[in-house]
């Protein structure tokens, strides 16, 4: 079987990854803003006795010179990489813009195929493009595609094979690329566009124009932003809370007794019965009950990412961000951090200025990720009558602290001039339900995987620590109790001095949700040892954490460095010093903030 290496190239946000997902059956991350793909991604497909390897590159506007790291990856690969054919993806409604890069790609002298993507949007806009004429003018194959539905994929694969087999090198008759005159290239773009455009764009007001009147308005835009955040949380809680309660009941009232009965019936040793009921179902099960919340939260986060709203927020908040030395585009990685901090740090690769990148990397861990949302939800539902408002408050505190951190860094270590800002504003788009659910399913799968691996491992360790030394009856004298009691003086002034809280809190550095599984394990072991009648975990936690300490607890969880994966990514993408300094800084800030809140609460 012959192999063909095909490189996907195009302007940012033209649907290269969407197309690759259809071509190779991959499930790579997509979004509706420039810079979703920041690293080289691959996928392969078998077609007509060929193994076609697709290499998806970050979007670029020009081959001239890279400004940011992601552009460098693309340009470097195109000039030095090993590939057989270029698949140039074009956003058809913006064909005139994209042809500039196409003509530069022609200069690379490699077989090339053009995918005229987003053909559905073109129809709505009234534009009609003659792809046969384009094929004739550039001596290559041009195929109309739709990245949303996968329309035109087979034709595209056939065109790739045909171009490769016949070594179809694109060229433009009567034009020489040798003299490199910019004006001539632009004239050529205009000429080709005039030739292939059958009907011009309709001059009508689009949905994007209408929505932008409101969402980009300096006053209404901000109100809309807060309202969207609030409504998102409100819907997430409204839908997920009954499901979480149902699952909680199922795990604790049905699954635990069933597992116990089953194990007792086969005369399993008592430690195994305890392990299953306390560490497995008690610990991991508590985290798993939040699967509906994670699913619904990611549904809305993905909807925001794919709708095109994120770049609008970037435009809207620029007057604020430029006061801390950043331009609005930096808000996109920050918003992505609401899903997970790790891809958000990777997303900073699109920024051209190194100091900008470091500054944003230092801001990202303050943005509450989905793992923290799970913990917040549990405590908000347990302790507070208005959980949505409390969670919105915590998210806003995170945003304020990230701005404060950026302000301090900008005034001290990262003094710099404000860099220029230029950004594409994509139209609003509604993703297909298939795409939306595929992304949400992948996030949910990742949550389940983490619950089954990291959180399970932590639960086992905590359970073992609470049972060692072997035969010790008093929990406070076990290794778990010893660790908790040793650390509790540090947490005493902030209202979190109970050894059970500190023992739960520290391993949560590996994964935030582990706080809940750890607490569940500790309280279950304790209830069993004391021979108490088991009550729901929420009631048990109320006995350990007084309501006055609950907000301190949540503040601490919010502020101190999110998790080990974030720490490692900060190290890799930023620097080792930044990662370690941030660890100390976030702990100090978390302790200080929590201390102030706890003391003020006691004072009043």
């Amino acid at each position: 079987m012959k192999a063909i290496n095909v490189v996907l190239v195009g302007n940012p946000n033209v649907g290269k990854t969407s197309l690759l997902n259809h071509l190779a059956g991959t499930n790579l991350k997509i979004g509706n803003w420039p810079g979703v793909t920041v690293e080289k991604k691959e996928g392969k497909v078998l077609f007509q006795e060929y193994e076609i390897n697709f290499i998806d590159l970050p979007g670029i506007y020009t081959l001239d010179e890279a400004i940011s790291e992601d552009e460098f990856v693309s340009i470097n690969f195109l000039k030095k990489g090993d590939y057989n054919l270029i698949l140039n993806v074009i956003e058809t409604p913006r064909l005139k813009r994209d042809l500039y890069l196409t003509l530069q790609l022609v200069e690379l002298n490699k077989p090339m195929v053009i995918a005229l993507n987003m053909s559905d949007e073109v129809k709505e806009l009234g534009l009609e493009i003659d792809e046969k004429k384009l094929s004739e003018l550039l001596h290559l194959k041009a195929v109309k595609t739709n990245g949303r539905t996968g329309e035109g994929i087979k034709e595209l694969l056939s065109a790739i094979i045909h171009s490769y087999e016949n070594n179809l090198l694109p060229r433009v008759d009567y034009f020489s690329f040798v003299d490199k005159q910019e004006d001539k290239l632009i004239s050529l773009v205009q000429g080709i566009y005039a030739e292939i455009r059958k009907k011009p764009l309709l001059n009508k007001k689009t949905l994007t124009d209408t929505l932008d009147q409101i969402l980009l308005h300096p006053l209404l835009g901000f109100f809309s932003f807060i309202a969207i955040l609030y409504l998102t949380f409100k819907i997430i809680f409204g839908i997920s809370t009954p499901m979480v309660d149902f699952l909680d009941n199922f795990f604790q009232e049905t699954l635990v007794p069933f597992a116990k009965t089953l194990l007792e019936s086969v005369s399993a040793p008592s430690f195994l019965i305890d392990f299953v009921s306390e560490a497995m179902i008690g610990g991991v099960g508590t985290v798993l009950t939040f699967l509906p919340l994670v699913f619904i939260a990611f549904f809305f986060i993905t909807l925001l990412e794919t709708s095109g709203y994120l770049p609008r927020v970037a435009f809207l908040v620029d007057p604020i961000t430029h006061k801390i030395g950043l331009h609005g585009q930096s808000v996109i990685p920050l918003m992505l951090a609401f899903g997970c901090n790790v891809p958000a740090i990777l997303a900073t690769k699109t920024l051209s200025n190194k100091l900008d990148r470091l500054l944003i990397i230092a801001m990202i861990p303050f943005m509450s990720c989905s793992a923290r949302l799970v913990v917040f939800s549990f405590f908000a539902i347990t302790f507070f009558s208005h959980p949505t408002l409390l969670i919105l408050f915590l998210y806003l505190v995170g945003i304020i602290l990230s701005i404060l951190t950026a302000f301090i860094l900008q005034k001290s270590f990262f003094k710099k001039e404000l860099s220029h800002f230029v950004m594409d504003l994509p139209p609003y788009r509604l993703p297909s339900f298939k795409t939306l659910f595929t992304i949400v399913f992948l996030h949910s799968k990742s949550f389940l995987k983490r619950a089954g691996t990291v959180i399970f491992a932590i639960s086992v360790i905590i359970w073992l620590l609470l049972h060692l030394p072997y035969g010790e009856k008093d929990l406070e004298n076990t290794y778990g109790g010893f660790i908790g009691k040793t650390l509790s003086p540090i947490f005493e002034p902030i209202g979190l001095g109970d050894w059970r809280i500190t023992t739960s809190l520290i391993p949560a550095f590996l994964a935030r949700e582990a706080i809940l599984s750890n607490m569940a394990v500790i309280l279950k072991v304790e209830a069993k040892d004391e021979g108490l009648e088991k009550s729901p975990l929420r009631e048990e936690i109320k006995k350990v954490i007084p309501p006055s300490s609950a907000i301190s607890f949540l503040m601490f969880v919010l502020i101190y460095n999110s998790c080990v994966a974030t720490f490692v990514t900060m190290w890799k993408e930023g620097s080792r010093n930044l990662a370690f300094l941030f660890l100390l800084y976030s702990f100090g800030l978390a302790w200080l903030s929590t201390f102030l809140i706890y003391q003020l609460k006691n004072f009043f």
Binding site: L201, P218, P311, P427
Partner: protein, 126 residues
């Protein structure tokens, strides 16, 4: 004149980019090319939002200062040119706009009464 000097609603044609550096090449590749026509949709803080067909771009004023343009159509009512600050100063032209618009129709008082509403709801301006 430069693009930064254009007002909201103005339609301009690009005459050139002052400096020929990497950024200028990127702007060209992004669609800001000689003889292309753009409409200035919004000026918010230090940024401009410009549009050409379905190509919408956000530029900071430093970049806009490097782009030379000619105005081909001027907006008579630049109501959305505001500074993104929640103060009265943020709307320097709006009072004048309302007076001009309603003076001839002898409904000046009514127009004045609704001016704030029109400011925060620009989509209702027509």
């Amino acid at each position: 004149m430069t693009l930064n000097e254009a007002k909201c609603g103005d339609i301009v044609v690009i005459k050139g980019i002052k400096e020929e550096d990497v950024l200028a090449k990127k702007l060209t590749a992004m669609g800001i090319r000689k003889n292309e026509t753009f409409e200035v949709l919004k000026k918010c803080g230090r940024n401009l939002l410009i549009m050409n067909n379905s190509n919408r771009l956000v530029l900071s004023s430093e970049i806009a200062n490097k782009i030379e343009v000619d105005i081909i159509k001027q907006n008579p009512c630049p109501i959305e040119e505001i500074k993104c600050e929640f103060t009265e100063e943020a709307y320097p032209d709006s009072e004048e706009y309302c007076q001009k618009r309603y003076r001839n129709q002898k409904i000046h008082r009514k127009g004045h009464r609704w001016s704030f509403f029109r400011r925060i709801c620009p989509f209702l301006k027509d």
